[in-house]
């Protein structure tokens, strides 16, 4: 299991745009972290530092406290797998199974080990029945799940998801939530970029808010979405989840998820009853 650390990381694109400024971030093995913030706040640039697709212009990126500056991207792919937003920018095989095989094969898996990894990944995203189908005969939702399976099959200790629920219908979103729960339960680190605050608050134990290339907030959903932080969230065009807004309006404290609103209402009702007696 791998610890990830960004130490004083800054990044400037070749055209001069600064995308990251002095970012310090440590992610322990098995954590589930969501990265949120407006477009252009540095979220995509940050995750690309994790597997070497982009190299820091300042600072260091460390895997298990070792600088990855001299390690090739192909080698880092064994540690950090990234699922990008648009499935069509990745799918190239004529069969679903072959597409999923690509990643693990690149990492050197063969034979029975390879088949097992592929089967498990397909089952996790509910695509086992489509193993021999042409990816382009699947709809958009299933193609997105296919790219997720392709990375899952690689068995990387860290999985990064770029906008996993965008464009998905209700079933697709639920499937993604289930997969994340499963891989987190297996002890793998999950990092996701998302604009869906309900999905973020309900699925991740830690939320990192980015704005202007910097980390603005870093904590649990309850901490991050609490009313005191709303001006900061607004500065990076993040709207707190509905549950948090309702909770604030009813004076229930920090309630980032539906369950927490229900719990808060229940305990305030109980307190109210206790007062009455």
């Amino acid at each position: 299991m791998t610890t990830l650390r960004l130490e004083g990381v800054g990044f400037v694109y070749p055209d001069g745009t600064r995308a990251l400024e002095n970012v310090d971030l440590a992610i322990a093995p098995g954590e589930a972290v969501a990265i949120i913030g407006q477009n252009g706040s540095g979220k995509s640039t940050l995750v690309r530092q994790l597997d070497g697709l982009l190299r820091p212009t300042e600072g260091r990126v460390l895997h298990d406290e070792r600088d990855i500056a001299d390690v090739r991207v192909a080698a880092l792919a064994a540690t950090v797998g990234i699922v990008f937003q648009n499935p069509d920018r990745q799918i190239f095989a004529g069969k679903v199974r072959r597409e999923v095989e690509f990643g693990p094969r690149m990492l050197g898996r063969q034979g029975a080990e390879l088949s097992a990894a592929v089967d498990a990944a397909l089952a996790a995203v509910d695509l086992a029945d489509a193993a021999d189908a042409n990816p382009y005969d699947l709809g958009y939702t299933r193609r997105k799940l296919l790219t997720l399976a392709s990375v899952l099959a690689m068995g990387t200790p860290v999985v990064v998801l770029d906008e996993p629920t965008t464009g998905q219908d209700a079933r697709g979103v639920r499937r993604v939530e289930q997969v994340i729960a499963d891989i987190a339960a297996a002890g793998r680190t999950v990092i996701a970029i998302s604009h869906d605050m309900r999905f973020v608050a309900e699925t991740f134990a830690r939320v990192v808010v980015m704005g202007g290339g910097r980390i603005l907030l870093d904590g649990t959903p309850g901490d991050v979405f609490t009313e005191a932080n709303w001006p900061t969230l607004e500065s990076t065009f993040v709207e707190p989840p509905y549950a948090a807004r309702v909770g604030a309006r009813l004076g229930l404290g920090a309630t980032p998820t539906e369950a927490s609103v229900v719990a808060a209402l229940a305990s305030s009702a109980a307190a109210h009853d206790a007062d009455q007696r």
Binding site: D88, Q90, S150
Partner: protein, 214 residues
């Protein structure tokens, strides 16, 4: 031509693009010419094939010509503003649809390059090694070519639907809002180039000896 390219500031991308684009042809030209060109001075032998000096010379000639062609096309593509081209073609009577296609073709190159880069990222993140030796890089082309083609086709489809909804296929002329400035300088240069080309063609036909790469 390299002088022009330097003054336009596009030498490096031009050279890179020209070399990359002509790579497949270059390889086949080299292989065919070097080994099968009839010649007397044998340099080395691989199996039944002799590599001759004449073959190498011929390959060199062909490659220089190829480079000249691809570089001039590349120069045109890299320095032409598609918008200006579209406007001007239309003002001179070309149908707006054709003019658009010409401009879009020019735009296609930088778009393709960008697209290939994004796709390459996805594949590298799955372990595709693009930093290794030549063989590794060549093998790595397949997982990139497929998605490039498909996303390009999807792109074209989306674009054409959007254009249709802007009445692009309506027949008839349009009243353009703007005009492309045409300086006297440029007009003179254009006529001059046409005249020189004509002169070269006539000279060739008539048999006047011209400096040629031989």
């Amino acid at each position: 031509m390299l002088v022009l390219a330097t003054s336009a500031g596009v030498v490096r991308p031009l050279v890179r693009a020209s070399v990359l684009l002509s790579l497949p042809i270059t390889i086949s030209v080299v292989l065919v010419s070097v080994f099968t060109r009839a010649g007397t001075t044998v340099l080395f032998t691989i199996g039944p094939f002799d590599a001759t000096l004449e073959g190498v010379e011929f390959a060199a000639q062909t490659l220089v010509r190829l480079f000249a062609i691809s570089a001039s096309i590349g120069l045109f593509v890299l320095t032409t503003d598609p918008r200006a081209l579209v406007l001007d073609l239309e003002r001179r009577g070309v149908s707006p649809r054709f003019a658009f296609v010409a401009a879009a073709t020019i735009e296609a190159v930088p778009t393709l390059v960008e697209r290939a880069a994004t796709i390459s990222e996805s594949q590298r993140a799955r372990g595709l090694d693009t930093e290794g030796g030549v063989v590794a890089r060549l093998r790595g082309l397949l997982p990139i070519v497929g998605p490039v083609v498909i996303t390009s086709l999807t792109d074209v489809e989306e674009r054409s639907l959007a254009l249709e909804s802007r009445a692009f296929s309506r027949p008839g002329a349009r009243h353009l809002l703007w005009a492309m400035p045409d300086t006297g300088w440029e007009r003179i240069l254009r006529w001059l180039l046409a005249a020189v080309l004509l002169a070269l063609i006539v000279a060739r036909i008539v048999g006047v000896p011209l400096p040629v790469i031989d």
